[in-house]
Structures are given as C-alpha cells and as structure tokens.
Amino acid sequence: MNKTITGSEAMWLSLIAEGVDTVFGYPGGQIIPVYDTLCDFEDRIRHILVRHEQGAIHAAQGYARSTGEPGVVIVTSGPGATNVITGVVDAMTDSTPLVVITGQVPSAALGTDAFQEADVTGLTGPITKWNYQIRRPEEIAWAISRAFYIARTGRPGPVVLDFTKDAQNGKTEFSYEKCKFIRSYIPNPKPSDQAIDKAIALIDNAKKPLVVFGQGVTISGAGKELQAFLEKADIPAGATMLGLSALPSDFPLYQGMIGMHGNVAPNIKTNECDVLIAVGMRFSDRVTGTVSTYAKQAKIIHIDIDNAELGKIITPEVAICGDAKKVLSILTEKIQKNSHEAWVKSFDHCREVERKKVIDMEISGGEGPIRMGEAVAMVADVSGDKAVIVTDVGQNQLSAARYSRFTKGRSFITSGGLGTMGFGLPAAIGAKIATPKKQVCLFVGDGGIQMTIQELGTIMQEHVGVKIVLLNNNWLGNVRQWQEMFFDRRYSQTRMLNPDYKLIAEAYGIRYRAVEDKKDLRKAVTEMLSDDEPFLLDVHVLEESNIMPMIPPGKGIDQIMLNEKEWYQK
C-alpha cells in the first residue's frame, strides 16, 4: 500500500481491474505518459491503433454492442477529443457502454487556451451519461471504477474521463475497489407492484395484443424471457431496428421489424391491436410515424429501465420502470396462459402482400442487376444466418435490417438513433476483435465507406478478418431515394464518382472481388465467407432502386407505400 506509482500506471491497473484487455486509441502530446506506460502492460492489454479517432470510438461501439461490455477509447486532448464527439453522441442515443479517456493539458494550464486544450467536460456534458475531469492521481481509481459502473449499469451509455497530464505523471498510492453504489443513481429500479398488477389485467383481457420491443431486451439479456412471455400469452411481436436479433428470426410469433421501412404486418397491426406492450424501446419517430395517429385505439403498457423515456413521446396507460428481464419474468409468471389464434393468423395476410409486392422481387428478382436485398439474403443463406451483421447508414443499412436473418442475440450492429454514416467499417472492426470466432459481415454504401475508409489501415495492421460487402450503387442512395420520391427527382449532390476499390483494397493488402452478375453472387459470397481473412466484396447493385415498403415522413404507421405508386390497402 505504501508503494507509490504514477497516475498512468494507476490508470492501466484500474482498467485491468475492470476486466479490460482491449482498448482502441491514438496517441498524442497530452496522453504520451499513458502511452509510455502501456509498454509495460502490453502482455495484458491489446491496443488497437486506428487511423482516426472517430474510428477508435466506433470500433469501441462495435466491441461494446457485440459483447455488452464497455468499449474503451484512449485519445489525446483537443483535436483527439473532438474527433470522438460523433461517436459519443451515437453511443448516448443508442445506449452503448463506453469509457472514453481523453488527455488534457496540465491542470495549471486549464482555461488558458493552451496548445491543444479543449473544454472537453463542457463539450461532452450534455452528450455523456457522466463525465469527470481527473486532476489528481489519487482520483484515478475512484473515477475509473465509477465510470465503469455508470457506463454498464442501468441504461448503458458513454462516460468521458478527461485526464490532465500532471495527473498522469503524478505519484499516488493505489488500491482498487469496484464501485457498487452511488447514492444519487438508481440503475435498477424496482418495478412497482401496482403497475405490474395493472399490466397483468390488461394483458389477460386483451383480445388483440401486440408486443414491440427494442434494444432494451438485448441489453438486459431478456431474449429467453421475452420468448417465454410471448409463448405463454400467445402474443405476436415486432422489433425496432435496434431490437433486431433479440428474437431468432424463425421464432413463430416474431413478425419482423416495425417502423419507416419495417414490415407491413407489425406496422399495420400497431394501429389495430387493443393492447400494445412496448419493451425496452423509446418510440423514436422512425418507429411511430406521426405520433398523433399512433396506436390511438390501444391501451399501451410501456416497460423501460429509463424513467425519462416513460411518457416522453406517448403517454402510456401503464408505465413500468424496470429491467426488461426482471419485468418480463414477473409478468410471465403471473399472466394467464392464453391463445389468440385468429389474431395471430391475421398477420399472414399483410405478410403475403409484402412478400408478393416487395420481398420476392427484392431478393430473387429475375433478370437485371443485383439488388441490395439479394446480396444481404445471400450472406444470410451462405452463413447459415450465423454472421454478426454490421451496417453503415442508408439503403445498405435498411436492406441489411430487412433481409438479414438471425439465430443469436447481439448479431445486428447499426447506428440507429443518430444514423452516423462512417459508423460501419470501424464498428465491424470492433465487433470482429470482440468476437473473433464469429463471421462479422459489414454492409456499407459507397458513400459511407469513404467516410472512414482510412480504417482499412487498421484492418491491415491488426489483421482483422472483417468481411466487407460494399453495396455499390454510385449514389448516396438513401438521399437519392428521397429526392426521387419527394423532391421531383432533382438529384442535388447525390451522384458520387467512385475510386477504384480494387486498387484501394490492393494497397491495403485486402482481398478483393467485384460482382456484377447475379449468377456470380453465390460463388463470390461463398468465397468471401470461406475463411477468416479480411475481404472486400464490391457488389455492383442496381443503381436507382428504392427501399420499400416506406411510411413517408408525416404519415401514420398504417399509411404504407409498397412501391413508388401503390399504397397498402387495408
């Protein structure tokens, strides 16, 4: 106990005490002492050197989302810190546990506009779950234990620790104790008995109940509990985009994805059900469409661990603040066994219409260029629905969400609430590093890949076996779709000239193959998935193609376009 160590050593020892063995980062002047000390910890810590700090934070997000464990990021002060801001907001919106450590100028220089000083705690206050500036080495163990406790409990989120250079260099005694309690913070609220009783009465008496669930189910590890609940009460269920993979795709009561480009059945049925049970989701506008016409006929039960979500968008009949796993097991135990055969069957019609009018064409659509859906479905097919799917943002993301199939949880990683282009490639790197035994397959557009394409260097250096499927349409496709449908085809700044991806892949020593012809697709995907090496598959897809169905902005959840001209008829 009397032995004193430097603040930097204390930091590494604290991280190790929290079970950290991988960090994503980039060095710089105000974090050099931490990097210097890393030399003595290389047997216990794998440091992934990225090419841009945005890459570090998205990789840490991919790492966190595929495991549930906090992703750790280490960057320098000033520009290093501001380069991670997008990822911090993204993690806040999508409830991703992160611990981000930023270097900072020595405490004596704070507030003087010193070289590479930025007001990091000020900048990140509103976009973090918690942040703290460490100015003395004695605070390190305390701050890091608190950071991990806050990041991973309750509704997870990002924590930023701003670490002054003098605190890195200073000497301190060190002992580590994990944080188990903060009096001002209740991560796991006890669900109210009264609310539970009210919910049970509603569920038991429902004739046409529907469950919609989000990432809360994944985070609380409540997949099995959700299945048991749905089976006992015989309730069909739809997932938000972030809820995907919490239920296996072939689970009989699973009805697909809800929201703007979701499946017809769960969307239409949202406005027909009599009791709507929302689990671990937050009624994002991409999920509800126009709120004023959303599920007006239904009594809504909203289950979420974050009290601030209850009543934020819609006012539920019953609000249950608590952990999804706990609440679902209590409900399952107390509800009656039930059967809603006719109601469940009534989803089939919507599904049939969607299959005929949209899906069949998208995933096996006859002649002509390859469609995005086909490429996604092919990966699902060849991988036996086992790959971890990571996406960027845009049509590639929506296709991946619609046509991937899942057998295990934590298999769909995407930037949902913020919609951050450039998220995909680094997130896939992080996911692959976290789960090296799994195939990790990225779907990305030609726009989005260029936002963080520098991370191909990280793949090269760290030899990360990510499978990159570039859905190349020579457009900023998603924006082009909106311009086509709502702006009179005035294609303003959405046509993009592409580089030669073959040369780029070659430059980084990454295997490359292009496919243009449908008949080569299976072979190419099979080749890509046959080993554990990094691979860039450049799929030349139908250029002007739209993601359908679509609930146009400003419309209700039951006003669904099946194609550019035709609406779903109820």
């Binding site: 509103p126 806050i150 009096r183 009543g311």
Partner: protein, 184 residues
C-alpha cells in the same frame, strides 16, 4: 391545450462541477426559458440545492424533471406550483438621493412596501425589498417616476411545506440500501 403555469423546480445535487450547466441545458434544449435560478447549499452537509423557475405545462415540466433526475449526480428533483412553497426574492433599487428626497414619498413608499434603505449618500440611495415578483416589480414601477439608476432581482429562494428537506427520506432509504449492498 394544457395550461401553462409558473413552476419552481428544486433540485438536490452532489457537489459536482459542470452540473449546473448540464441542468440549465435541459431547459434550453427544450426551449423552456429559465426565469430565475439560484444555487447554494442545503441544510444537509455536502448536498447542494438549485432552484429554477420556469413557465411550462405540467407534462413538460414532468418530462424535464425526469431528465434532470437522469443526470447521475442529481439526487432528486421536485417541482411545485407557487402555493406549495414559501418563497421570496430579493430586489435592490438604486435611485438618485436628491430626487428621492424631493419627491416626499420616501417614508410612505418604505412603509407601503415594507422596504428599507441599505445605503444612502449624497448622490444615490439603495433600497432593498424582499417579496414576491409582483411586489418587487410594483415598487420598481413606482420608483420609476423618481428614476431608477440600477435594479437587480435575485433568483427565487424557496422552501417546501414538508417538515424536512424533501430529499431527506430518500437519502435515508439510500443509506439502508447501501448497507445492504456492502454486506452482500
């Protein structure tokens, strides 16, 4: 439409740098104006009190309070309408001494408003008054005839009508929970 009322939000927090900015941010982000804000210690050691007044519907104030409580270092937040609280504001007025004396209204104003003089010299006089917003405003309006050189009004300080600090029971409960966690 729900009725817009004047609410006082009382927030108990740990002593944490930057928290005040984060809390006021929650109001500005939802374009709710903060009419007054005061911060200081509470009767419980180490616990700070932030009092904010704003106009909002009950629904919006409830949402804002939930988001405030979501900040890790916020212990608890409460919102009240005016008659649930005992509250005061402090106002000070600087007026030219000559004109003030010439007006012949000094005595009557002081007694009518229960105000007092805190400083007087040849050039100016500083009058102080505590009370509700409309009272301090009314005195301001009357002094205008004489000429107000400077006017300041403090944020609201408010005390709930509960027996102890409203956060007291909550803290006791958390103490018991802490012991349980430490034992397990």
């Amino acid at each position: 439409m729900e009725e817009i009322k004047n609410y006082t939000v009382i927030i108990y927090t740990e002593n944490q740098i930057g928290l005040l900015a984060q809390i006021s941010n929650i109001f500005t982000r939802r374009s709710m104006s903060i009419w007054s804000l005061s911060a200081g210690p509470s009767s419980i050691d180490g616990i700070h009190n932030i009092t904010i007044t704003t106009d909002a519907t009950e629904r919006r104030i409830r949402e804002a309070v939930r988001q405030i409580e979501k900040r890790v270092d916020v212990i608890k937040a409460f919102f009240y309408v005016e008659d649930q609280l005992v509250y005061r504001e402090l106002a000070m007025y600087k007026v030219p001494t000559g004109k003030l004396l010439d007006s012949g209204e000094l005595e009557s104003l002081l007694s009518k408003y229960n105000a007092r003089i805190v400083e007087m010299n040849k050039t100016f006089t500083v009058i102080q008054k505590t009370g509700y917003t409309d009272e301090t405003q009314a005195l301001h309006d009357e002094l205008k005839n004489i000429g107000v050189l400077q006017f300041v009004r403090s944020g609201r300080v408010a005390i709930s009508r509960t027996m102890q600090e409203p956060v007291f029971k909550f803290l006791q409960k958390r103490e018991r929970e802490k012991e349980k966690i430490n034992k397990s």
